[in-house]
Symmetry: C2
Subunit: 463 residues, 2 copies
C-alpha cells in the first residue's frame, strides 16, 4: 500500500492525504507568489477559487473592535473548557437567537454549544462521533468541495452524493432512493448534511424542502447536520433566511410531527465566523446539538482542536455588542449584493449563464457551451485553459456537479476599495479592453481584478 | 456494541470516548464549583491534579506583553497557512535555537515547523500520520496520563508501555525486549515517545540513554518522538537540559553513526507554550520534523486544528523579544524551584518519599506505606480517601507506574502571591495546625493551598 517514495516513513492511511484537502489546492498554492495586483502585478493570477470574505473595510472594523474589548482576566492563560469558554458559548447562542435562529420555539442551552478551531474541526469531530468508518453521509450536489476531506480524511466516512430536485417534489422519496443506492453499494447512511444557504449555488432551500428533509431524517434516525455558515450572507433584497433549527422546533416539534427526543438526538447545527464575519483567519467554528452522549464523547476529542481562550474572549466581546453586530451584518449584506451584481452583470455581458444567487460569496456559472467536449475531461481542459490565462476557478466536478462544465466563481483577492461595474460595457467590447469597474461602495473584490477576470474569461470564451 | 443508553445516537467508536480524556477527570470537573480558596472557601477541593503553570505574576507579564505587540495587518483575518504562519514558525525555530536546541549542528528549516492547537493536537496528528490503526507506540513508564487519549482516542494506536531502567544499561536490549513483548501480543511497534524532562517524575534522561534510544530508533526505522514540552522548566541549580535534537545531530549524525536521511524521516520534536510559558489557555503547540511526506499529509489534517492567525501574530511578537523571553524563563525557573522546595520539604516533614525532581511542575510521591494493600485497588482506596479530604492527586496507575501507590502532586490553584515554606514546621505539628508558607517570591501555588494540602495529607497519612 505504501507508495514507493514514502518507503514506510509515514502510515499507509497518510498516503492519500498527501495531495492536500482539495484537488485544485496545488494550483492555488503555486499561484500564491504571483497573485494579481492591478498596480504591481497586472499579469498575475486571479485566484477566484476560495470562498473567503476578504472585505478589508469590514475586516478592519472587526480588528478595531477587538482592540476595544477590555483586557481579559489572567484566567484566559489557563486551561478552560476545551469545548469553548462559557462566555463565548453564551454569546454565540445569543447571536444566533437574535439573528437567523430567531424563532421563539427554539431554546438554546449554552452548555450544548461547542466551539472548536473552525467549522472544519466541528465537521471532522461530528463525522468521527456520529458514524463509524465506512458509513455514509448523504450530500445533495453540487456541494462544498472540501467535504470530501472533512468527512473522509480522518473520520473515513463515505460521501453519498445525490441530486436533490426540489421542483420534482417527493423529497422523502428522493432521499429513500439515495439511501437505496448507497445500500446497493454496501454503504449504511447515518447522516444528511445540508449546507443552506447552498455552496456553490448561493440559493436557499424552500421551507417545504427543509421540513421534508428534517422529518425524513428524524423519522429514520439519520443525523441531520445543518451547515448554516452562510446564514447571514443573504444579500438579495426581500429574501430572509430561516434556520433549519427554527423550522424543526416551530413547524415539526411544535406541531407534534417530530418528538423532542428525536430532535435532541439527531439534529446538529454548524456555524462559524469565517464567512459572515470576514474572519476565516480566526478559526472559530461552532456546533450546537442537544445530543448529550455526543458532547460527552466530544470531551475526548475537543482538546485536539480547541481555541485560544484569549481569542475567545475577544470574539465573545464583539458578538455581545448588538449594535456592532447588527451594523456589521447589514453592511456586509450590502457589500455582498454590490459585489454579486458586478460579477453577475459582467458575466451576463459575456453571455455566460449562471444560477441566480441570493446569498454567499460566489456564483455558480455554466461554461458548458465553451467546452470542447461534454465530459469531465472537457471541463478539466477548460479549467486548464483558464489556468493558462492565470484565472483559477473552482471546477464543478470538485463540487460534485451533476454535469461537467460548471464553475464556482469566488471573490478575488482585494487589497483596495472597489467599484461598481460600468453598464456601458458590452460583451463585444471586452475583447479589446478591460472593463473598468468604479464605485466607492463596492469593497468586496478588487474592481480591477473583477474586470481583469471578466476580460480574461472573455478572451477565452470567444477564442 | 452500542451501550443501551446511547441507542444508536452516536457512533460505536464514540462510545469509549464518553468517559473523557482522563480517568480522574470526572472527579476534577465535579470539584470545580467547590475549589479551595483560603479566604472564601477554606474547605474546598485542592485539585493538585493538573500539570499547569498558573503563576499569575508571569501570566500577567505575558498578557501585558501581548497587549504591546503592534496590531497586525488585516491579513490575519484571512485564511493563511493552516500549519501556522511563516512568522510564528520562524519565531519558534529561533526560540528553540537560542534556548534548549542550541547546538550548532542543528539546522532548523522553518517550513518544517508546524503549529497546531496545542501539543495534544500535534500528537494526535502525528499518531494518525505515522502509524496505522492498531499499531504500537513504545512509552517508558511512568508517563503522562493523557497519552492514552492522545494516541488512542482518534488515531487508535496502542500504547506499548515498558519499564526503562537506565541504571541497568543495555538500553537497546530493553527496547528490543519491549518490541518483542509487543509482537507477542500482535502489535507492530512504529514509534517511541519520550517525554524529557519526564512527566510525572521531573527527571532528565542521561545523554547516554537518549543517544542509545535515538540510535536504536533510527536504526530500526521506528519514529522517535521527542516531547520536550518541559524543556525550559528545569529548575535545579546547575542542571542543563540538552534536546534530543542536539544529541541527534551533534553526537550521531555529526559522527556518522546515523544517516541524515534517517534523522529527517524518523525524528520528530514536540514543543508548546502550555508549560514553560504559563500559557495552556492559548492552545499553541508545535511539531518540528524534516519528514516531507509527513508535512504533505498534515496539510489535509491541519485545517481541523489550526490556530487563530491573530493569536499567532501576538505570540510571534513575544517570542521574538529575546530580552523578554530570557527574563521570563529565568524567573519561571526560580519560581519553580521555590515551589518545588516548598512542596518537597513539606512532604519530607510528613515522612513522604518522592523522586527528586529537577524540572517540571510536579513531583512523584511514594505513598505506598499508606496503602492498606499493595494493589491497584489499594491505590484507588487511598486516592478516594484523599478525595474525601478534598485533595485530588494524579494516581500513579493512570501514569502507568510499575507499582501501585505512587501519586503525582501538581501545583494547586493559585489566586494570590505565594510564600516560602516555614522550615520551623515539623511533621508532628502538622496534625494540629496548617503550615503557613510565606515569601513574596513564591508565586506558583497559593501558599495556604500548599499548606492545606500538606495538612490534609498529614491527617490522612497519620490516621
Amino acid at each position: 500500500m505504501d507508495s514507493p517514495d514514502t518507503d514506510g516513513i509515514i502510515a499507509k492511511r497518510a498516503g492519500p492525504l498527501r495531495s492536500g484537502p482539495l484537488s485544485y489546492i496545488g494550483a492555488f498554492i503555486a499561484a500564491l507568489p504571483d497573485l494579481y495586483a492591478a498596480d504591481k502585478n497586472p499579469t498575475g493570477f486571479i485566484a477566484a477559487v476560495v470562498a473567503e470574505n476578504k472585505c478589508e473595510r469590514l475586516q478592519q472594523r472587526f480588528l478595531q473592535r477587538m482592540a476595544e474589548v477590555p483586557l481579559p482576566d489572567v484566567a484566559v492563560m489557563n486551561y478552560g473548557s476545551m469545548t469553548g469558554s462559557p462566555a463565548l458559548k453564551r454569546a454565540l447562542c445569543n447571536l444566533l437567537k437574535r439573528t437567523f435562529v430567531d424563532s421563539p420555539s427554539v431554546r438554546f442551552k449554552s452548555d450544548n454549544m461547542a466551539v472548536l478551531s473552525g467549522c472544519t474541526a466541528c465537521i471532522d469531530a461530528l463525522a468521527f462521533l456520529l458514524a463509524d468508518e465506512g458509513e455514509g453521509v448523504l450530500l445533495p450536489t453540487p456541494t462544498y468541495a472540501a467535504f470530501d476531506n472533512d468527512l473522509g480524511a480522518r473520520a473515513h466516512l463515505r460521501i453519498v452524493d445525490f441530486e436533490l430536485d426540489e421542483d420534482r417534489g417527493d423529497i422523502e422519496g428522493q432521499l429513500d432512493g439515495a439511501v437505496e443506492a448507497a445500500r446497493a453499494r454496501g454503504v449504511v447512511v447515518r447522516g444528511l448534511l445540508i449546507t443552506n444557504p447552498c455552496n456553490p449555488r448561493g440559493t436557499l432551500y424552500s421551507d417545504d424542502t427543509i421540513r421534508s428533509m428534517l422529518r425524513w431524517s428524524l423519522d429514520n434516525k439519520v443525523h441531520y447536520i445543518a451547515d448554516e455558515i452562510y446564514a447571514l450572507s443573504v444579500h438579495a433584497d426581500g429574501v430572509t433566511f430561516r434556520s433549519a433549527m427554527s423550522v424543526l422546533y416551530e413547524d415539526l416539534v411544535g406541531r407534534g410531527e417530530v418528538s423532542a427526543e428525536a430532535a435532541a438526538s439527531f439534529f446538529h447545527l454548524l456555524y462559524g465566523l469565517s464567512k459572515d464575519w470576514c474572519a476565516s483567519g480566526l478559526r472559530i467554528g461552532c456546533l450546537y446539538s442537544d445530543n448529550a452522549p455526543l458532547h460527552e464523547a466530544l470531551s475526548s476529542l475537543a482538546p485536539m482542536a480547541s481555541v485560544s481562550n484569549y481569542q475567545q474572549h475577544l470574539v465573545a466581546g464583539i458578538l455581545n455588542d448588538e449594535a456592532f453586530t447588527a451594523a456589521f451584518v447589514a453592511d456586509n449584506r450590502a457589500m455582498l449584493r454590490e459585489s454579486y451584481v458586478a460579477l453577475s452583470d459582467g458575466l451576463a455581458r459575456l453571455g455566460v449563464e449562471y444560477v441566480e444567487a441570493v446569498a454567499g460569496l460566489f456564483l455558480f456559472a455554466d461554461l458548458r457551451p465553451w467546452m470542447d467536449e461534454q465530459s469531465i475531461e472537457g471541463e478539466d481542459r477548460l479549467w486548464r485553459s483558464m489556468l493558462d490565462l492565470k484565472v483559477i476557478l473552482t471546477p464543478g466536478t470538485a463540487c460534485k456537479a451533476k454535469q461537467p462544465g460548471w464553475f464556482r466563481i469566488c471573490a478575488c483577492c482585494p487589497r483596495r476599495p472597489c467599484a461598481r461595474a460600468s453598464h456601458a460595457q458590452t460583451r463585444r467590447s471586452l475583447s479589446q479592453r478591460v472593463a473598468l469597474i468604479r464605485s466607492p461602495g463596492f469593497a468586496w473584490v478588487e474592481p480591477a481584478a473583477v474586470a481583469e477576470l471578466l476580460h480574461r474569461l472573455g478572451r477565452l470564451l470567444r477564442s
